[in-house]
């Protein structure tokens, strides 16, 4: 555990810091902590990165009558002796945070694994009550837990709850209210060493737990299929195919619907109303509405992604997927769970960044999240196809295929590079995963969880996306000479054209130092979908879908690539495609990275992507120009 990972965070440093009493939920992973948290707080919750960490903690407000209580859902941990940044945060909050009461969750279907932490918590002296979860599952497995014995031995109140079904929640709330004023643990528990504690746990198990059978369960038989060498991989591929389809095929028509709805019902009426005031028309229609529209079109894909993530996690399949994909991800030095976000990235990078939440280790989340932008999203595919068909007609397919190979290679090498440099300590331990029981996901938890995440994305990414679109519009609307009026200037004579011409020489060593192309790359930062349209705009081509206009655009692109590369257009085009693959995908991806990992890492990511993209493009051009 590195010292920099230690947060030393207190509850009062959190975003909900106030005099409202704080209750922390503490437990091992997969004991139903998040489900209980959602039951207690509903949608009155928000995520917060604790100071000096990338570990995310959910905080929410529980209101019982007039009493307000802050509920803090701490990262799951097996022990207070932390081995990861997530666990360290829990340990730090327990040690230094001003918690008024802790609710320690014990899984009734797996008591033996939970009591070590419960004993440590009891020894820490923090007032605590025990919430016994998964009683329904324990019953199905023939396991009986004597709550009275458990409470007596731990010297703490024990309450049975089934958060998924809402059972026992009222009793728990009453207890919380009572024990905020009254010490739930009047007797001190002696502090034991590890062996004594394990012995104590075994003693409690012997007294409090009865098993009818301890045989191979249906869940074990399902696991044999879902984690098996051939069947497990086949099932994982089906799941991944489904996720990919849902985030592309299913989401695309919904995105188009929102786009056309915004155009028909908002942009068109506003356009008609503001036609007499060009600057206001431009600001509102091409700036604000276009910016909000860009953000809202991501709504379907983000909602679908978050729903899928919640279902996969809540059902218990995510851990099985991590087991199956572990070997596949080993070559990139990433854990098995990183496969899902990286594959989703080939559809769209934005939900892929959010999908890194499936990774329990904060360093692996960061590493995967920084690698995602190198996956060639479907928006980049449209540009590959357009360019490859113009310049490599017979070999267009091969060129596109090579770009995908490059994308995969970039992800692998970038992840390995980052592990050795910026994200040290993200070592990849050999596989060791505890598998949670299979559960039927509950609609309340899944929908609430997805809604909170979508809301968070809109709130935190919205500002960046809308501002960037407005800035690009403003640059395009601002003339560089008095000859033209604001909003009525040709692109070439706008501030945007001037910026593109200023940046353009940077790409001279890569063979595509032409302002039309540089400008397209600048607008490509807003969204890769607009690169082709931007070329059309820069070349004053009205409609790139129109065959005549398209032919004109094609010819001008050929001429300019030929001129800027000194007669090595093919090499320059390959260099351009390489740059397109490696540089920052879009502003929404940056916004998602800022939300997940903070501004520092989002900016670091941009700097690395731009540098790497430029170096690769220059190297590729200078090698290929000798042959092409």
């Amino acid at each position: 555990m590195c010292s920099s990972c230690s947060s030393g965070a207190t509850i009062h440093e959190s975003r909900l810091g106030s005099d409202v009493p704080a209750i922390a939920l503490v437990g091992r992973p997969n004991v139903g902590k998040s489900t209980l948290f959602t039951r207690l707080t509903g949608t009155h919750q928000k995520m917060a990165n604790y100071p000096a960490t990338t570990v995310e903690v959910s905080e929410g407000l529980l209101e019982i009558g007039k009493q307000k209580i802050r509920i803090i859902d701490l990262p799951g941990t097996c022990s207070l002796d932390a081995v990861s940044p997530d666990e360290q945060l829990t340990t730090d909050v327990i040690a230094h945070g001003n918690i008024d009461l802790a609710v320690v969750l014990v899984d009734a279907s797996n008591v033996a694994r939970c009591l070590y932490l419960a004993t440590e918590m009891r020894e820490s002296g923090i007032p605590m009550v025990v919430a016994v979860t998964m009683t329904d599952l324990a019953e199905r497995r023939g396991i009986t837990l004597d709550l009275e014995v458990l409470a007596r031995e731990l010297m703490a109140p024990a309450i049975a709850v089934t958060p998924r079904l809402g059972q026992g929640i009222d009793d728990l709330k009453k207890s919380l209210l009572t024990y905020l004023d009254k010490n739930p643990n009047p007797h001190e528990m002696p502090i034991r060493d590890e062996d004594e504690r394990l012995e104590f746990v075994n003693t409690i198990i012997g007294m409090a737990v009865q098993r009818k059978n301890n045989m191979r369960t249906t869940s074990d038989r399902v696991d044999q299929i879902l984690t098996g060498p051939i069947t497990g991989l086949a099932f994982l591929l089906v799941v991944l195919w489904g996720v990919f389809q849902a985030t592309t095929t299913l989401a695309t028509p919904l995105m188009d619907l929102i786009d056309s709805g915004l155009n028909t019902f908002i942009a068109a009426p506003l356009s008609a109303a503001l036609v007499g005031i060009p600057w206001l028309h431009g600001l509102v229609v091409n700036g604000i509405v276009a910016g909000v529209g860009t953000l809202l079109t991501f709504l379907p894909v983000m909602s679908i992604m978050f729903l899928i993530l919640s279902v996969l996690e809540d059902s218990g399949y995510m851990s099985r997927a991590a087991v199956v994909s572990d070997r596949i991800m080993r070559f990139a030095g990433l854990p098995g769970r990183a496969l899902l976000p990286l594959l989703v990235g080939f559809g769209c990078n934005v939900p892929a960044i959010s999908a890194t939440r499936a990774l329990p280790d904060a360093r692996h989340r960061l590493l995967t999240g920084l690698s995602v932008p190198f996956t060639a999203c479907s928006a980049r595919l449209a540009v590959y196809v357009f360019v490859a068909e113009i310049f490599f007609k017979k070999n267009a397919g091969t060129v596109i295929f090579l770009m995908y190979l490059l994308s995969i290679a970039l992800v692998v090498f970038f992840a390995l590079f980052m592990r050795l440099t910026f994200v040290r300590g993200a070592k990849r331990d050999p596989l060791f995963i505890e598998l949670p029981p299979y559960r039927l996901p509950t609609s309340q938890y899944v929908l609430t969880d997805a809604w909170i995440r979508v809301k968070g994305f809109l709130r935190e990414a919205g500002g960046i996306v809308v501002t960037t679109v407005i800035v690009v519009w403003f640059l395009m609307a601002t003339p560089t000479s008095s000859q033209y009026a604001f909003t009525e200037t040709p692109v070439e004579n706008s501030a945007y054209g001037a910026v593109s011409k200023t940046i353009s020489p940077i790409f001279e060593p890569a063979g595509f130092a032409d302002w039309h192309t540089t400008g397209a790359l600048v607008t490509g930062f807003v969204a890769k979908e607009v690169v082709i349209a931007s070329w059309g705009q820069n070349y004053a081509v009205d409609d790139v879908e129109n065959p005549v206009d398209r032919q004109r655009l094609t010819q001008q692109l050929k001429n300019d690539f030929e001129a800027s590369s000194g007669g090595h257009a093919a090499a320059a085009v390959i260099a351009f495609l390489i740059f397109l693959t490696a540089y920052t995908p879009c502003v929404a991806t940056v916004a998602a990275q800022k939300r997940e990992f903070g501004l520092k890492w989002a900016l670091t990511g941009i700097a690395i992507q731009l540098t790497l993209a430029w170096v690769l493009a220059v190297v590729a051009f200078n090698i290929l120009k000798n042959w092409l």
Binding site: A112, R113, T227, I230, L233, F432
Partner: protein
Amino acid sequence: MYFAGMLLNQLARGNTAIVLSFSDELFCQQLRRAGLRAGTEITVLSRTASRGYLLKIDDTRIAISRKVAADITCELIAA
């Protein structure tokens, strides 16, 4: 059947064994926290796609890689 001191990755599906020791201290803490310590009874439920094992320890199910399995010495008690 009785064999002493075999490695966990020598066990076949369905075998139950008692853990004797770990050779790698690195994983020792993690394994102990998951309930896998000397004296624990484990059953090999199946092989996994990652060429590892799915183990049953009391009511817990744990997936481990071959590398981890090769660090655990155990004593077969039922085949």
